[in-house]
Amino acid sequence: MLEHLTDWLESHMRTCTIREHTGIYCAGCGLQRSVIALLKGHIMESLILYPALIPILLMFTFLFFHLVFRFRSGASILKYMFIGNVSIVFMHYIYILFFQQIN
């Protein structure tokens, strides 16, 4: 079932509009490949391709549990997770812009 899903996703990958037109990476480039790698079980590869994916998924699961169970300091934890995720995305973006070219 999961193999079919990853095969389907791999055959339906869509090129980023910004990348197609300008040749510059956008801040979301690598997300699709990262998701596919994660679905295949390659956690390290997914982290290298897009380091913010797993923290974002963690943040969403935490958001869900916070909305259901109403943790005492859940809101501030969510806030700091959000800020951390944004900084991870930003730093990764600067890194791939200047130092690395993923194909």
């Binding site: 956008c26 979301g28 809101a75 806030k79 959000f82 800020i83």
Partner: protein
């Protein structure tokens, strides 16, 4: 037991009852969810920054309304919903700034490309070509 001068009850049982009776701020969870979703939709390709921008703006508008309600009557609402609201507001502002930055970069890129194309187009000697 009761302090009639200020109109507030000092009885702890009644105070506990009052705290239990507090209701959630309207839209507090919606503000939090929209604020967090605004960042995920903001960085990706093409049309998506606009989605992030709209989500951030909606979240900020809802949060300002709820903040007004809370300021009018702070005793009526629970503290946890206020925390949710504040966190959602911070997330929405960050998402708004991020998607606005990306849209601005896109607009600057389009302007540069347009200026270049315009210069090339106007520098072509059309009269020599057609005559």
């Amino acid at each position: 037991m009761e302090n009639t001068e200020t109109g507030q009850t000092q009885n702890p049982e009644i105070q506990n009852q009052l705290i239990q009776d507090r209701i959630q701020l309207p839209n507090a969870t919606a503000v939090l969810v929209l604020g967090i979703f605004s960042i995920v939709t903001s960085w990706c390709c093409g049309i998506f920054p606009f989605v992030g921008l709209t989500l951030g703006i909606i979240s900020l508008a809802l949060s300002s309304k709820a903040q007004q309600l809370f300021n009018e009557n702070p005793r009526l609402y629970t503290e946890s919903s206020m925390k949710n609201l504040n966190a959602g507001k911070v997330c929405a502002i960050i998402g708004l700034v991020f998607s606005g930055l990306i849209i601005m970069i896109g607009i600057i890129y389009l302007m540069v490309v347009g200026a270049t194309l315009g210069t090339i187009f106007s520098s072509i000697p059309w009269e020599n070509i057609f005559n």
